[in-house]
Amino acid sequence: MTKLRLFFGAADRLQQSTAFKIVASIVLLVAAIGAIAAYSIAATAPGALAPGDRAPAATTPAAPPAAAPAQPESEQERIQRSAREAGQRILQDIIDRRSSPANVAVGMAMLAALALVVVWLGLGLTYLALIAGAVVVVTPLWLLGLEGPAQLVLGVIALTASFTAIMQGLRLLLSGSYPVLAIARNMLAEAVRMKVSLIFLVILIFGLAALPLLLDPENPLRYRVQTFLSYGVGGSYWIIATLTVFFCVASVAFEQRDKQIWQTMTKPVAPWQYLAGKWLGGAALSAALMVVCAAGVFLFTEYLRRQPAFGEQPGIVSVENMSADRKILETQVLAARRAVGFELPLSMQDPEFTAWAGLYIEDGRKIDPDFAGDAASLDKVVTDLYKGWQQAYRTISPGESRVYVFKGLGEAKRRNQPITLKFRVDAGGNMPDQLYRITFEASGILILPPREVTLGPTQTLDLYPTLITDEGELVLGVHNGALEPIADGWLMRPNPEHVSFPADGLEVYFPAGTYQANFFRVALILWIKLAFLAMLAVTAATFLSFPVASLVAFSTFVIAEGTGYLSNALEYYHAADAAGQIEYWKIPVRAVGLVITWMFKNYASLQPTTRLVDGRLLDWGHFAWGIGVLTVWTGALFGAGIVIFRRRELATYSGQ
């Protein structure tokens, strides 16, 4: 065993030597130039397969509609056609990018560049060994028809290789002769050599590699992609966050317990340098893992994107024969859309509402003089009243209709691309076998035929941006029933019960950025959250033992993540009950809940994973605000940690 380790040690020193790097680089460059030249000759040779032959429909422009109107189109029709074509162009671009032959040469060049980076990171032999291992293990599995395990092994090897390269890069970055960097680098070594972190690393890498095997190929492609994004990004984030918390706490707490800190802090290392080094190490580790996971998820999503969608034939995708599944995938999932909810005509501060509330309370006091007698009861009554009004506003009686106004859609109109109405209808007990018919009316134009909707699930309706007014408003009428044309007007066929939309159950989405940029922002925000957690864990471990500090840091993390739910729950949690009786023990509970909500509301409102899965934009403004808030919190924790750490006695009584 020792001899094997010594052998690996010697091999590692060899691959880190400059001579090896130079020789390997020359070999790689020659191979890459040869491969690109061979491919170019093959691609340009007579009889070579033309790119357009692969998917002719994808490269030819969309044919004009067969039944083009004979008479000149009106301005409204022209705008609608223009919007439709813009939507088609988006899809066409997506298809074109997939079949470009230049990608092969660029891909080869990028691979060669990556290989050079690997060699100069001192990992040339490590990667060769990984590739050899992959061939040895995967080939027999493939030959035996065990594609799933083969994919799993390949995934594990790819993720491990990426992680190794990034860690090596980080080690180089942190190799400076400065205490903060030295401590951070030491933490990275600790991360890959200690069991506490290795367990999480193994879980993460195996989990992510195994995730594709859990996707049901019978499901529509968009659901597969959403499931993968949700578990890939969200699951990875939770594992990395847990690792970050436990690893940072362990690194600081165990160093105090095992007294290595004595030898560090008796060197010229200031308390702030020690804490900054520990934080940097934890943040760098989480960054490495986040990059590996994000890159893995992104690349596998791109792979999934190239798989046949529901109802598609493999290899043939064009705008004309594009399935609804793919269209939704491309425009609603792998997208970056901004969501706009409808405006409420009344706010709680509106004089009309306050007058109404005053009358309500007055009436109540006629029956019970103590009704809403104290501030807490009054607040609850007014809040409940407003919520009741909101609920009523989102509810439509059978055969009735209501108008909702969406504002701030100027950007959607400027972009002149299709917008999406996302709605969720609740009625009665949301029986799954019931179908309701809802008629929409946008800017005075009835959208026929009426939509048949299932109760409960979210559904969508594509709308033209031409329906948006010049002021950026969309006026949407919703009829609870089916409006059908008859000879002398319209016939309403009402649904049997009231329908209502939940708080976020009626929104307009429009494209406002690219999926790739959105993915990048989401990954970055997730890392900023992890960096915050690293500081939280380091600070907690400056004065608490490992179990207590872990509990404190992890609980804070869970609470911060669950603040959204807590906030919703607090809306219904009051010290006073419906009869106005105050349960005093609820007062401090609610106060604590409110403080937590206030503290973490910005953290919770970011919702990066949910946004990514829903194809919603995390815009730069929100992104910058999130980073700013988290940076301030991280800085505040750092300051607190320094104060605590300076006051601590790192040594204890020898007789203890």
Binding site: P179, Q263, L650, G655
Partner: protein
């Protein structure tokens, strides 16, 4: 062995102490803030520049607590501490301090080289200097061949050696050694003693804490003996250990008649007031026997997977120029004639820890073994005026007695040893 008693008659201004503790008290409290243990109680002492200072006492006497207070790992309950005139928490001061804790608390996941490299970075040492020092220290502590093994696989003694190396990585002005020989074999112990002496010769200040009295006696200039956190005795080794009522004479084996003759001479010269009290044959110490056996095994090239025989003291610790400075010096020397006389060659590295190492060293350096002058010191290290090799102080012996015996001894060598000046 060296001994440097301070010269009270000196008219030079007394240099600032490296460590000054005044009324230092440390009381450990329990959760309810009740006094649990008074580890250090009103302790006052100074460690002066360029001295080897011993902190002695039994287990639990407050030695380690005092050291932790000096390093800022603990905060005093009362009293004052200054290290190089600054509070113990001063970060810049720590650049001048090397510390070896009572146990080597190392990162188990690092190997020896990475460990030393890490600590070198904490001192912001340049990568070239760091690499050279790591190489030399690994060689010095005998772990060069095990440098790529992780520390968790090391034996306690090997970990101790790495601990010692990390304490020296910054070439400290002030070295704090808390039980440095714990876990070391006799060779390592001997090497530590030699190292302390060598660093002492270079003018380093060393605070040595130990309860192994033999270790301390061999190397310290001054000491304080603690018990229950309080000072029980303080002074130089001579002051504390020397017996003023006895004289010991060591010679080749003597027969009974010769001993009787000596006794007769003593009685005659003292008028019958003095006589030989005890005649014994000196025993070889166990340490000497052990060292001899190991040296023999090494000479036979027997294999071991443990620590190798430690090499010479790292050159940077001997005050030799490092890296680029050395190369620059050599280049300049080749290009132009030196303006100042060339310094005499540096002394040979400390000889492998054998019983006669100091004698061999003094012979190779061309000077008498006890001439008191440190071999080729750097200017900074020139201050200790007198650190004579530990030997019998002939000034306090009646030399004529010995002379008369030598002249009458039939087995005496043809050329009697030169009479000491």
């Amino acid at each position: 062995m060296t001994r440097a008693s301070p010269n009270p008659a000196s008219t030079l201004p007394r240099p600032d102490p490296v460590v000054a503790c005044q009324g230092l008290t440390k009381v450990f409290k329990d959760f309810w803030m009740r006094d649990r243990a008074r580890a250090v109680d009103n302790l006052t002492f100074e460690v002066r520049p360029r001295e080897v200072f011993g902190l002695l006492g039994p287990n639990g006497s407050g030695k380690s607590t005092t050291i932790k207070l000096l390093l800022g790992l603990l905060k005093p309950t009362s009293g004052r501490i200054a290290v190089f005139g600054k509070p113990p928490t001063d970060v810049a001061t720590k650049k001048r301090i090397g510390y070896l804790p009572e146990e080597s608390y190392l990162y188990p996941f690092l190997n020896a080289r990475e460990t030393l490299d890490y600590y070198g970075k904490l001192f912001e040492l340049d990568s070239k200097v760091r690499r050279r020092r790591v190489d030399e220290l690994l060689e010095m502590v005998g772990l060069a061949s095990a440098q790529f093994r992780v520390v968790r696989e090391y034996s306690k003694g090997m970990q101790r050696r790495i601990g010692i190396a990390q304490a020296l990585i910054n070439d400290p002005d002030f070295l704090i050694l808390d039980e440095p020989t714990t876990g070391l074999d006799p060779i390592g112990t001997r090497q530590i003693k030699d190292l302390i002496l060598e660093l002492g010769r270079r003018g380093k200040t060393i605070l040595l804490s130990s309860h192994l009295l033999a270790d301390v006696e061999d190397v310290v200039d001054r000491m304080v003996i603690l018990y229950g956190g309080r000072t029980r005795a303080e002074g130089s080794c001579e002051d504390l250990l020397e017996s003023s009522t006895r004289t010991a004479v060591e010679a080749d084996t003597l027969d009974d008649a010769t001993v009787a003759e000596i006794d007769r001479v003593i009685r005659a010269r003292s008028g019958g007031a003095k006589a030989i009290v005890k005649v014994s044959r000196p025993r070889q110490t166990l340490e000497e026997l052990f060292l001899k056996i190991v040296e023999q095994a090494r000479a036979e090239r027997l294999e071991t997977s443990g620590a190798q025989h430690g090499g010479a003291t790292a050159s940077f610790l001997r005050g030799e120029p490092e890296g680029d400075a050395l190369i620059g010096h050599l280049v300049r020397a080749a290009d132009e004639p030196p303006l100042t006389p060339v310094a005499p060659p540096l002394p040979a590295p400390a000889a492998p820890a054998g019983p006669d190492a100091s004698i061999i060293e003094s012979l190779t350096s061309g000077g008498p073994p006890d001439n008191g002058a440190p071999p080729a010191p750097r200017p900074a290290a020139a201050a200790p005026a007198h650190k004579p090799q530990k030997k019998l102080d002939t000034r306090e012996v009646d030399l004529s007695v010995i002379d008369s015996l030598v002249e009458r001894d039939a087995d005496a060598p043809a050329t009697p040893p030169e009479r000491p000046a």
